[in-house]
């Protein structure tokens, strides 16, 4: 359902992505791993056009979306995103964070949006925090609100950009639990993560990115057990240590 073909992207004179092809099937959970600076975040942002590729095609359900006649706002409604540093709107309550998109972008009535938002926050275990502001929530709680905010747009797929890297260890599991639940419900997901347990147990495929290119693609057991590429072996050796 998500397809990237020959994606190139440079920032200034620095090439970040150098010809990436990637396909994600409906309902698939894909773990995107690689050393820092390998282009994982940029690749993820190419899918919802937060970053516009210099070359190559981005396709959603077979239709190219990085074209001038497709509004990027429309693409972003189809593909939700969760950030490493949560990025909750700090002047809005948890519930308002969740309902902003539905009311302003999708034109859903306030009451209906609040009902749906409340249900979503209950689903991520924050039914008692509707009126709390981001600064009053723990990191784990903020990230769960961020997941609810993305889900509120009714996306066809979700992108996670190192969703647990900024969290203290004791808050990581609650976020992973929500993501695991989401995967079980059949959400198509691309997850940039270093959480090996999550990649192993939830992802169907691991993609290893280095130097702006995909060097290896394999099922998790195979990738973490016996990586073929030398740089992948190096990387796996470092994170498993």
């Amino acid at each position: 359902m998500i397809r990237l073909e020959g994606i190139h992207k440079s920032f200034g004179d620095v090439p970040v992505l150098r010809g990436v092809d990637l396909e994600v099937r409906t309902g698939e959970v894909l773990a995107l791993v690689g050393p820092s600076g390998s282009g994982k975040s940029t690749l993820l942002r190419c899918v919802n056009l937060l970053v516009v590729p210099d070359q190559g095609r981005v396709l959603l359900d077979g239709a190219q979306v990085n074209r001038p006649d497709v509004r990027p706002e429309w693409v972003r409604q189809q593909v939700g995103m969760v950030f490493q540093s949560f990025n909750l709107f700090s002047h809005l309550t948890a519930l308002e964070n969740v309902t902003l998109g539905p009311t302003r972008v999708k034109g859903i009535a306030r009451d209906a949006a609040r009902r749906e938002g409340t249900a979503l926050l209950q689903r991520v275990g924050l039914g008692d925090k509707l009126g709390a502001y981001p600064a009053e929530l723990s990191g784990g709680q903020q990230q769960r609100v961020a997941i609810a905010r993305a889900l509120a747009m009714g996306p066809r797929a979700m992108l996670f950009d190192e969703p647990t890297s900024a969290l203290d260890p004791e808050y990581i599991q609650e976020v992973l639990d929500v993501m695991t639940e989401l995967a079980r419900e059949g959400m198509t997901m691309i997850v940039v993560t270093h959480e090996m347990s999550f990649a192993r147990n939830v992802a169907q495929r691991v993609v290893f990115l280095d130097g702006g290119q995909i060097l290896e693609e394999a099922p998790p057991a195979e990738f973490f057990g016996a990586p073929r590429h030398e740089r992948a072996r190096n990387f796996v050796g470092k994170i498993l240590r």
Binding site: P68, E73, Q77, S90, H91, R104, K106, Q141, R149, D168
Partner: protein, 297 residues
């Protein structure tokens, strides 16, 4: 505690003003107010000086408020123009719609340049000079106008341009202190650039600009005293005129000092309560719980 202190200060001020007013008269010497164009020898004029000062305070405050409001529009626009991201020529060259991209890039550059130029001029010259310069422009441009409205309009223009420049910097700082992640998040849920500005950037930026803006208002009110050089009938101009023909210079300027404080002290208090009211929950001063579970937080 602060509330009590403020009330005490206000009472003290009013007392000072009354004492000053009576001192000026009880000194046994009649005050010459003939500059005011009326025969003050007839009728009771105890307190006339107070009425004159209150009127002049009204002029000062009105001029300040008007300039400040006009300056808000000017400063907001200029401040926003200074935050525009300038597209590189390479981006323009590679844009599919070259002509449109080129026009946009040129417009952005022009807006940003003009705004920076404006701010630099305002910041780099004394307000006194700005007032006289603008006044002289009015003088040559409208030689047939009555003096009083012309002076007032020149003064308002100078104050507006001045505060607009300083407010531009306040707004620029406000816009730039909204973290980029907030904008990325707004984009990621499908908000378009206008909605992102209205729903995410503005509410946060404006909260941040509130303290410096109130500060600017108070500062502008004090600066309005310089309008006396072009004979706008505000507070300082009145004090100058009275003191020019009367010996009670100290009493008159003490009264003037009290009048300025009478306005600025409550303003500071209003500013404080505004800030408290629009403060982002959990951020800034006050009994907020700190975020837990965020590394380095």
């Amino acid at each position: 505690m602060f509330r009590g202190l403020d009330a005490a200060a206000a009472v003290a001020l009013i007392a000072v003003i009354l004492v000053m007013a009576s001192l000026i008269f009880l000194g046994g010497r009649d005050l010459d107010l003939s500059f005011y164009g009326r025969d003050w020898d007839s009728g009771p004029y105890e307190g006339v000086i107070l009425v004159l000062f209150l009127q002049a305070a009204g002029v000062s405050l009105t001029a300040t408020a008007l300039s400040f409001l006009l300056g808000l529009g000017l400063g907001f626009t200029a401040g926003w123009a200074r935050t525009l991201r300038l597209t590189s020529w390479r981006e323009v060259r590679e844009d599919g719609r070259f002509a449109r991209a080129l026009l946009r890039a040129l417009a952005r550059r022009a807006a940003s340049r003009v705004a920076s130029f404006y701010v630099e001029i305002v910041r780099g010259t004394p307000l006194f000079v700005q007032i006289v310069l603008i006044w002289s422009i009015f003088l040559t441009a409208f030689p047939d106008w009555d003096q009083n409205p012309r002076n007032l309009l020149a003064g308002l223009t100078a104050l507006t341009l001045n505060t607009g420049g300083y407010q531009a910097e306040i707004f620029r700082a406000g816009f730039q202190s909204v973290p980029p992640g907030q904008i990325e998040a707004a984009n990621s849920i499908g908000l378009n650039p206008r909605q992102t500005m209205r729903r995410v950037i503005l509410p946060q930026a404006l909260r941040l600009t509130l303290p410096p803006l109130t500060n600017e208002f108070i500062s502008l009110f004090k600066s309005s005293s310089l309008l006396f050089v072009i004979s706008v009938a505000e507070l300082t101009d009145l004090a100058k005129s009275v003191a020019f023909v009367n010996p009670q210079v100290f009493e008159i300027f003490l009264l003037l000092t009290a009048m300025y404080l009478l306005v600025t002290l409550p303003l500071g208090r209003v500013a404080q309560s505004l800030e408290r009211r629009y403060r982002m929950a959990g951020l800034g001063l006050g009994p907020a719980r700190a975020a837990r579970g965020v590394r380095g937080g």
